[in-house]
């Protein structure tokens, strides 16, 4: 018996073999991995997890690979921070940050999904991997393909932040910058995937790949002492991360590791690309695609594949979806950095901006726990905050010069425009 039964259409329920397939050929619905939970129950236990590796592979029994992991052995199990400083600014006693800015190998949550996707791609016999990416995914696929000695093609929008472009090139993959936005890249890749026998992690390998995001829920529960938080705030790009975090909570409850889930799942988008937040506000169950225009490029998906499901999950959990302006994104980034020492990328600014908005609205009641998912590292999107950070004191190498500068700074504190 194997833990993977096969793939199953989330819409019409049609079954497929556990191959490199992502779409139901009858209704075009998404395929999901279907598990033998009865079998998994006989294998998994809290004790086994606790003795497992300090990586996402401690939850291997709930991940869609057949053998042992071979790629991304150090991905996941990132710190959970009890954010007392930020919490006190926002009036929250139990604010936690899931800090994937320090994920391994490439400083974003994408290392989780890629570790699973490339391990599975190797199991399925592929020698070439690829992806359509807003940046972080491309970085992670490039790095892990280098580690796994796989041929690699990454497709990115041509206007990406320089740090994310360089974060591909260093690993020597084939980097294809497409003149268009992410939705153009995604459509092109769907067409390319139909023509070349490659493992596109977020296209034909997507059912396996997306399961890696469940580990962000498992880790949160384990790190909170085998409890579900009362609230989570999750950034929404395609919506996959949010739906898989929900799935992770429910799986642990189903296995009896935590009490039945009552977590309210809140979504965060940037105003310049908020098709899911807008559908939520307008109480629609369908997404109207938009043309993204925001500095939060990692979330700039105008036609989100899982937007429909993200809406469903948020509604079902009694959560909310909010959006914030680019100014609030930058403010969120600087707020997080100066209170907790965490330098997150723009997506983290979106999450913190929305967290702040929800806190102001009184969504979080006294004593409730909140986990905010910080999914990527600020060193990759420096241009977004650079303009508001001011400049260092420039002094001569003398005590007098320093003392003069110190005095001047007392009179005119260093610019902190991002903090208002």
């Amino acid at each position: 018996m194997s833990k993977i039964k096969g793939l199953k259409c989330k819409e019409c329920g049609k079954n497929y073999p556990a191959a490199a397939l992502h779409v139901c050929e009858f209704c075009f619905g998404p395929l999901e991995v279907s598990y033998n939970y009865d079998f998994i129950k006989t294998k998994i236990s809290k004790e086994k997890i606790l003795q497992g590796p300090k990586s996402l592979w401690r939850y291997q029994d709930l991940l869609p690979i057949e053998g042992e992991p071979t790629v991304g052995l150090n991905a996941g199990f990132t710190p959970m921070i009890h954010a007392k400083n930020l919490g006190s600014e926002l009036g929250l006693d139990y604010l936690y940050l899931k800090n994937d800015t320090v994920n391994c190998l490439t400083l974003s949550f994408k290392d989780r999904v890629v570790a699973v996707a490339l391990t599975r791609a190797k199991e399925l016999g592929f020698d070439t991997v690829a992806c359509a990416s807003t940046g972080n995914l491309a970085n992670s696929v490039s790095a892990h393909a280098a580690e796994a000695r796989l041929r690699c093609f990454v497709f990115i929008p041509s206007d990406l932040e320089w740090g994310k472009v360089l974060g591909n090139l260093i690993y020597r993959p084939n980097v294809v910058a497409v003149n268009g936005n992410y939705d153009d890249v995604n459509r092109l890749c769907s067409e390319i995937a139909g023509e070349y026998p490659w493992a596109f992690v977020n296209i034909n390998i997507r059912p396996y790949y997306s399961e890696g995001s469940k580990t962000l829920a498992y880790e949160a529960m384990e790190q909170l002492g085998w409890r579900t938080p009362d609230h989570v705030v999750v950034p929404i790009a395609s919506g996959s991360l949010l739906t898989k975090i929900s799935k992770g909570f429910n799986e642990f409850a189903q296995l009896g590791f935590v009490s039945p889930v009552k977590t309210k799942i809140h979504g965060a988008q940037a105003e310049g690309c908020s098709p899911v937040a807008t559908a939520f506000k307008e109480n629609r169950d369908f997404i109207k695609p938009v043309k993204p225009k925001t500095i939060a490029k990692s979330l700039a998906i105008g036609n989100p594949a899982d937007g429909f499901y993200a809406l469903k999950v948020v509604h079902g959990s009694d959560g909310l979806i909010e959006h914030v302006t680019d100014e609030e994104v930058v403010e969120g980034m600087t707020l997080l950095a100066r209170t907790e020492g965490v330098f997150a990328e723009t997506a983290g600014g979106v999450t913190i901006g929305v967290l702040k908005k929800l806190a102001k609205k009184g969504v979080f009641k006294k004593g409730e726990s909140v986990v905010a998912y910080i999914t990527g590292n600020g060193l990759k999107t420096q241009e977004a905050v650079a303009p508001v950070l001011g400049v260092p004191w420039n002094i001569q190498p003398s005590l007098t010069s320093f003392q003069e500068a110190l005095k001047a700074s007392a009179d005119a504190p260093q610019t902190r425009r991002g903090d208002q």
């Binding site: 779409v23 067409e191 996959s240």
Partner: protein
């Protein structure tokens, strides 16, 4: 003739062809004519009301028809149409 690119899940209906030719003044008409040659195609793409299914995207010259007039978006000779499953990416 209008070139229409067919995604893998629909190629069983087009005898394995990844690209077919069609005719029509708008997307709805184009799909109707394609359905005559490749029966079953329309049912896969459209719901009972003739609207595009949730998980299907159609592009005219790389532009999503949902940004235009949906199924009523005009098409003309020389246009390139792509039918692409919506579930991808992210």
């Amino acid at each position: 003739m209008i070139k229409v690119r067919i995604p893998t899940p629909l190629r069983k209906l087009t005898g394995g062809q990844g690209e077919v030719d069609g005719e029509g003044d708008n997307v709805a008409a184009l799909i109707n004519t394609l359905d005559k040659e490749y029966p079953g195609l329309k049912e896969r793409l459209c719901d009972e009301q003739g609207e595009l299914r949730r998980f299907v995207n159609i592009y005219i010259n790389e532009e999503d028809i949902r940004f235009h007039q949906g199924m009523m978006t005009p098409v003309k000779k020389g246009d390139e149409i792509s039918i692409v499953p919506a579930i991808a990416g992210g």
